[in-house]
């Protein structure tokens, strides 16, 4: 388990480690739903008694281009308002992104990388990898929009495992955020990813 949780909530004991705040950076492509994933994460975190803050990279984004989104989870109100330079966790929605973007930039020693990958994956040493084939899971659940597999909810399931947020809270948040029509199958994708994620050190 990456974080040593201590906070009481209806889901049990939950709290991020030492500085009481986890900083997460999402790398995706415009249109993949990285920002939505960050927003849903905050919703899920709030359900388990954590304070959350999510925001996109501040700038102009284009469909298909590399984009970033950020989230902070904390046991108390998040005061700081700035982009995250030294994340505890990096989430990568597109397996090809590490070839063109330094997704590990500034990541803390011992940090976690949640990676959508079709198979094995090798990254820098000293990090913990949570590998999941989110693309396949999305396709299995029919999560496709404008020809693109929607991997953001599946990757959330893998992220939930990495930061130890209860998957039930994530599923609830997904359904609440996306609505009753597409919410449930996205929640199922998240749960499958949560089950299938492979941890590599």
């Amino acid at each position: 388990m990456l974080f040593n949780y201590r906070m009481k909530s209806s889901y049990g004991e939950i709290l991020p480690r030492d500085n009481n705040m986890i900083e997460i950076r999402f790398h995706g492509r415009g249109g993949q739903g990285a920002v939505t994933a960050a927003n849903i994460l905050v919703m899920a975190a709030y359900k388990v008694g954590l304070w959350g803050q999510a925001f996109p990279f501040f700038g102009a984004e284009r469909r298909g281009a590399p984009v970033k989104a950020f989230a902070r989870l904390s046991k108390s109100r998040v005061r700081i308002r700035s982009m995250i330079r030294h994340p505890d966790v990096v989430v990568v929605l597109d397996p090809k992104l590490p070839e063109i973007v330094d997704v590990y930039s500034g990541i803390k020693d011992g940090g976690a990388v949640v990676m959508n990958t079709p198979g094995e994956f090798r990254g820098p040493k000293g990090l913990r990898y949570y590998l999941v084939n989110a693309t396949k899971i999305a396709l299995d659940h029919g999560l496709v929009l404008a020809g693109w597999p929607l991997v953001n909810t599946a990757i959330l399931g893998a992220l939930a495992r990495a930061i130890d947020i209860p998957i039930e809270a994530v599923k609830e948040a997904i359904i609440e955020y996306l609505g009753p029509k597409v919410g449930p199958k996205n929640a199922e994708a998240a749960e499958q990813a949560f089950r299938e994620v492979v941890v590599v050190e």
Binding site: A38, N39, V42, M43, Y46, G49, W51, G52, Q53, A54, F55, P56, F58, G59, A60, R77, V78, R79, I80, R81, S82, M83
Partner: protein, 398 residues
């Protein structure tokens, strides 16, 4: 986090929810980043039948505020929103709205002014509006951004005030950042701000002319009355925030003090950067034994000079963070100008130094804040004559 249900809302969405709760009649706006999603959400509410309002799609911000003036003069509860160049284009009409004493509420997602084109956050647009006769406040959480809209109508429509109000949030740092917000429901909002036309309106049965020629014989009296209305706005702000606390349980002051009880030094700031300063105080300054606090100015017009000076007069040194520049002025940043005038007129001798930071979205980091704290601490034991005559430009390449 007990209490009512909170929703994860961006600053812009939080504002849109409040505008819906205020049951506005007319929304007149033109899209501009980073404000756009406020009106986007509102038009969605209207399209879904959740809000019964007239949405006026205009061809520019000049028209957006002009239409708002017309609708308000007809007795409607009116809302508009803008940023940066949009505010600049509204500038002419902003004076007209305040002088015609129309209680329009405008949300501003602050953004730098061109040139060069920059969509990121600073306070250039907000500060450019500071002499337009609008009541102005700036939030620093999304909950506050939400609540400010309800407070704004309370103040604007008060018969002793009747002035338009700007409620500002920082572009991106708040407008596009999601955090938990407890939305106020329409029913409880309308108990707090009942829909009652308290201002002079156009009425076909009793025709009047509004905003006609004001000759030298009359013009000055209008301005004098605006000055008085602005003073009243301060009294009404205090009443409104007290009542707001009773009803909704959240307390807002014209100035927020953070760890000021035992503070010897303070930074003065507005908007989102105040959050970074708070984090710095807790994580760095206090751990190093520096008795640093934060004075966050929420109400900017009318400027809460008395209470700020009461606190500053007891401190060893103070630094004021400006996120805009007043080019060629005798001071540097506009907030610093207000603080200095307040200090002079209240006989406060505390050395007060100016920092300009974060222009055009340049991040204000802990290292930057440390530089400001160091420069402020360096004034310990000095007099105001020792204060640098130029602002410190923090985080810029020289």
């Amino acid at each position: 986090m007990a209490g009512k249900k909170k929703l994860p809302l961006s600053g812009n969405t939080a504002i849109a929810y409040a505008v819906k709760a205020a049951d506005v009649d007319v929304i007149s706006a033109y899209p501009i980043t980073p404000q756009t999603t406020i009106v986007e959400k509102l038009t969605e509410f209207v399209a879904n039948g959740e809000l019964d309002a007239e949405v006026i799609h205009v061809e520019s911000e000049h028209s957006a505020l002009s239409a708002a003036v017309g609708a308000s003069a007809a007795g409607a509860r009116v809302f508009t929103a803008s940023s940066s160049q949009g505010i600049a284009l509204m500038y002419e009409i902003m004076f007209i709205a305040s002088s015609m004493r129309l209680p329009i509420v405008m949300a501003m997602a602050t953004r730098a002014l061109s040139a060069p084109i920059n969509i990121w956050n600073d306070h250039s647009d907000f500060m450019a509006a500071s002499d337009t006769g609008w009541v102005m406040m700036m939030a620093h959480t999304n909950q506050e951004a939400h609540d400010d809209i309800i407070l704004a109508y309370k103040i604007a429509e008060h018969p002793d005030v009747l002035l338009p109000v700007i409620t500002a949030i920082d572009g991106y740092f708040m407008s596009h950042t999601i955090e938990p917000v407890e939305p106020i429901e329409r029913e409880e909002a309308l108990k707090f701000i009942p829909k009652k036309v308290t201002w002079s309106v156009l009425d076909p049965d009793n025709p009047v002319t509004m905003g006609p020629l004001g000759t030298p014989e009359w013009y000055y009296e209008f301005k004098r009355q605006q000055h008085e209305a602005m003073k009243k706005a301060r009294e009404v702000f205090d009443e409104a925030t007290k009542e707001f606390e009773k009803v909704f349980g959240r307390r807002y002051e014209p100035v927020e003090y953070f760890m000021m009880d035992d503070a010897e030094y303070a930074l003065v700031a507005m908007g989102s950067v105040a959050g970074n300063v708070k984090a710095y105080i807790v994580k760095e300054a206090r751990k190093r034994g520096i008795k640093l606090g934060l004075i966050r100015v929420k109400l900017f017009r009318p400027f809460p000079a008395e209470e700020i000076m009461e606190v500053i007069s007891n401190l060893k040194a103070v630094g004021v963070i400006d996120r805009a520049l007043a080019f060629g002025s005798s001071y540097g940043g506009p907030l610093y100008g207000d603080i200095l005038s307040a200090a002079y007129t209240r006989g406060v001798d505390t050395p007060i130094v100016n920092f300009v930071a974060g222009l055009g979205g340049r991040p204000v980091t802990f290292r930057d804040i440390k530089a400001m704290v160091d420069a402020t601490l360096a004034l310990d034991g000095k007099t105001r004559k020792d204060v640098p005559k130029e602002p410190y430009f923090i985080g810029v390449r020289e």
